[in-house]
């Protein structure tokens, strides 16, 4: 399976879109749009609107998320923004500020 991998020193200002899973270790400012899952790793800083299937947050995320199936904020994850997803997990220790909408009609 193809994975787009944004390494820890990489900075992207703009948009990432497509049909691959995305793993972010670096910085993304703009937007990420994919039909697959996105993983925001511990070292990552993401300031973007996210449209995706599943999201795992272990890093720093600022932006709104629309997920087709699931959003998980890990214990080391920090997120500020609104989440729209049918299933949402927030682990013990995670930081979150924003609105949650689980009424996606699925």
């Amino acid at each position: 399976m193809a994975i787009t991998h944004i390494g820890s020193t990489l900075v992207i200002e703009g948009e990432i879109s497509g049909s691959d899973a995305v793993v972010v270790q670096g910085r993304v400012k703009g937007s990420i749009e994919t039909s697959q899952g996105v993983v925001i790793e511990n070292s990552a800083h993401v300031e973007a609107n996210l449209t995706l299937d599943t999201l795992e947050v272990a890093g720093d995320v600022k932006g709104n998320v629309t997920a087709a199936s699931r959003v998980e904020i890990k214990p080391e994850g920090k997120m500020v923004g609104d989440i729209k997803a049918p299933r949402i997990l927030i682990a013990d220790g995670a930081h979150f500020k924003g609105n949650i909408d689980m009424d996606v009609g699925r």
């Binding site: 193809a2 787009t4 820890s8 992207i12 948009e15």
Partner: protein, 159 residues
């Protein structure tokens, strides 16, 4: 692992991309790429971009401008419409290329600018606090450069 970024075949990145690591492009990039690492553009990949990297290997399609600090390689499958700037360049048989090539590089321009710098300390060192000499330096008196040259030659002979 951590030192390589991969943009997979189904992904498109639009915007500015910078980093200190290698980048493997299998998908598409539109905009600009600036790397302190190597860029590898695979067969079905496409870049419509201004690219800066240490080395750039092109097997896919590139439109724009490519500046490499060390070298650029166009493989047989490469389709390139771009200006290329690099001290070393390889174009394989079968590659399609349209654009300008500059292999002279920046190092040629730098000595031209750095050359006058050592001349001035010699000229200012030679006057023993006399204002007339400093004025003559500004007016480009033919007598002064001659004196400077003579001193330089004298130093070289001693060594």
């Amino acid at each position: 692992m951590a030192a390589t970024t991969v943009i997979a075949a189904g992904s498109v990145v639009r915007g500015h991309l910078t980093g200190q690591e290698d980048l493997l492009l299998q998908g598409r990039v539109e905009g600009s790429v600036a790397l302190q690492g190597n860029l590898d553009i695979e067969v079905d990949a496409r870049a419509d971009a201004t690219i800066e990297a240490v080395t750039v290997r092109i097997q896919g399609t590139v439109v724009g401008r490519v500046v490499a600090r060390e070298g650029i390689e166009l493989s047989a499958s490469a389709r390139v419409r771009a200006d290329l700037v690099a001290p070393r360049l390889v174009i394989a048989e079968g590659a399609l290329f349209a654009g300008a090539i500059d292999m002279s590089g920046a190092p040629v321009a730098r000595p031209v600018f750095t050359a006058p710098a050592p001349v001035q300390p010699v000229a200012t060192a030679s006057p023993t606090g006399q204002p007339s000499l400093a004025l003559g330096d500004d007016d480009d008196d033919p007598a002064l450069p001659g004196g400077v040259d003579a001193k330089n030659i004298a130093f070289k002979k001693k060594k």
